[in-house]
Symmetry: C2
Subunit: 195 residues, 2 copies
DNA sequence: TGTACATCAGTGAACGCGCGTTCACTGATGTAC
DNA sequence: TGTACATCAGTGAACGCGCGTTCACTGATGTAC
């Protein structure tokens, strides 16, 4: 099915991957084209053979970051499930884990960038919406019973908001907020919601 | 008690006020010193007679934005209270109102900047922590019964997260998320929490 | 299998622009007598 | 009340730096015969 990638495709993938971590770590405008290319082992001049503009890279990087994060969350959730507990509990404990608070770079792109999303150009905003939709869907799938999208969206907002505030507070206060949020969400969604 | 402010103090206050709206609208780095001074009716050269650095202004602007927002929320909450309902209900309905989704400029500074807060210099991060603490205290005071700080922090995270995701989604989807979050929070905190 | 040539991916210098910061200067306000 | 001078708030040009983007060029890879 998958053809072996050309040299250019390999470079392209490396640039996108570096960028997906760079924007989560430093924000949309936190790292320049030259730095990203350097980290991918290239010089900045070749950038425009790969992307029409910096924003075009940002869009690809957001998609990659979102997909990678959902894939890695799913993986950890599966592993935790073996040790018992519900799928939702495993998701909450993974997303609101101390590790996620400390490592923005390979974490949730929404928590990393949400307050900047509304200020981006249209192409980037469109991708941002897709990322939010994808995360809501993932949460919805993890909720017990046949939870509706609205309920999943509120839970998503709670998790994203808590992670961001915990990062801002940092240290003990941050960890405490994470713990409190985990407990609240798990307790509240132990069983299917009755409407 | 209050002495009539000097000409310089008036200019200073105008600059801080303009900046407090500028950073909420455009982000920490979204508006330059020159633009802020211009909007305050001055030229950029005079800036450093008022502030040691751009970050020093940002710190003052954050404090002003936070205080103004809490004051204006309190005012609206008082007005709504007359029409019945609990204080918490009034707060949730004001904070998660469609107007707040549309107007970042004079809204909550945490929702406007949270994902950028961890990337700022220490002085700015310190002020960010103070803003989060202040908002949690306000929410705690509005919760029915003697709600603890942890519970208030989780509610704060939910409100901030929902507002940000609503802004990112925009339009109908955004309004729907706001409505769902209002309903969930109000229903859940109708009465004092029993621990 | 070997040679000649075309295409491809990447290089590195340069351009233009915006931004934070500095500084010599100016006009207005306030004070001393 | 009026004049001379000092201080104060603000002006506008300039500096240095970083960044997105462009472009002529180079070395490597692939293809034709």
């Amino acid at each position: 099915m998958s053809v072996s990638p050309s040299r250019k495709e390999l470079s392209h993938a490396r640039i996108v991957d570096v960028a997906s971590r760079a924007i989560r770590r430093a924000g949309y405008r936190g790292v320049g084209v030259a730095d990203i290319m350097k980290e991918a082992g290239l010089t900045h001049g070749g950038f425009y053979a790969h992307f029409d503009s910096r924003d075009a890279l940002v869009v690809e990087a957001m998609a990659k970051a979102g997909q990678d994060n959902i894939a890695s969350l799913t993986k950890v959730v599966e592993r935790r499930l073996i040790q018992g507990g519900t799928r939702f509990q495993a998701l909450v404990e993974t997303y609101l884990h101390e590790t996620h608070m400390e490592r923005t770079e390979d974490g949730c792109i929404i928590a990393a960038l949400s307050s900047e999303m509304t200020r981006q150009e249209d192409v980037v905003r469109d991708e941002a919406r897709r990322r939010v939709d994808a995360m809501v869907s993932m949460v919805q799938a993890a909720l017990p019973g046949a939870a509706d999208e609205g309920e999943a969206a509120v839970v998503t907002a709670t998790m994203v908001g808590a992670l961001q505030l915990a990062r801002t507070l940092g240290g003990k206060a941050g960890r405490s907020l994470l713990a409190q949020t985990r407990q609240t969400l798990i307790e509240r969604h132990k069983h299917a919601t009755h409407h």
